[in-house]
Point group: D3
């Protein structure tokens, strides 16, 4: 606790994901006072055909 979920488009590299969970965890620890060992981060990836803004999926854009 806290539990952080990051939902984003697929395609980031493993290095980016590794850095993402490190930096987000640090940000949570610094601002909430939670102990680092208790911070959990989940990454959730979406594909372009499952994500739409303004009624249009990213996979349908020109």
């Amino acid at each position: 606790m806290p539990y952080v979920n990051v939902k984003m488009l697929e395609g980031r590299s493993e290095d980016q994901k590794k850095a993402l969970v490190e930096k987000v965890t640090d940000a949570v620890v610094e601002t909430t006072g939670a102990s680092k060992e208790k911070v959990v981060v989940f990454i959730e990836e979406m594909s372009k055909n499952h994500y739409a803004v303004a009624g249009k999926r990213l996979s349908d854009e020109d």
Copy 2:
């Protein structure tokens, strides 16, 4: 904003998903007054072995 998540069994076609996000977005705009550009829709698919009703997974049904 609003953010809409539609969780359903896998198997719909791309045409169905395309129509789904269009119509759901229109429904949200019409009823909430949100501007269309701000409506986000996510599609989340489940497989039959990860979904159970009454303690029985769909993949275990006869």
Copy 3:
């Protein structure tokens, strides 16, 4: 099934919410072929101090 979650800022009227679930359900039935009795809609409201874009909460905007 399908299960739809609509996350939005608090403040819509009961009439708007009632219409929202009706229209969204119709949109899902029309486009996915699901039977109406199986469509579930959840509304999830956020307050302005729990929602941020570009690092700034809505409650902190001028």
Copy 4:
């Protein structure tokens, strides 16, 4: 209703998942008074590179 989501690392067998949804459903029925037919269980699997504790992904552990 109730709707139960179980998020866990991938790797459990089909027999484990089958037993999981059965036992969790029974536990919910017994303690909440919900009728069994109304209890829904979703299983959501994570991979080790999408799950981090203390800023470190499971896939990055030695």
Copy 5:
């Protein structure tokens, strides 16, 4: 890990909720082999005006 979320209508007593998290945790431990200390359960309550089946909110039923 595992992380279990139970979404249900508000109105259960504290004793019911206490029993719910105990029994669900036991069910998860028994069937997944996870150690008990690692099982996390969240309860998420809904009000009747934020939950709809077949396009109709529970708060709008006769």
Copy 6:
């Protein structure tokens, strides 16, 4: 996009929440390359009687 959800116990101050969304947003921008205006952060608070570890709610601890 990305969409970040931070679930934590209630009780943090407004200043802590304000700093939390700022720092988390910066961490996401720095590591994923997303543009700042597209990063969304939600805060989701739990009460102690709705959160359990090892089958025991925080509200039931001595």
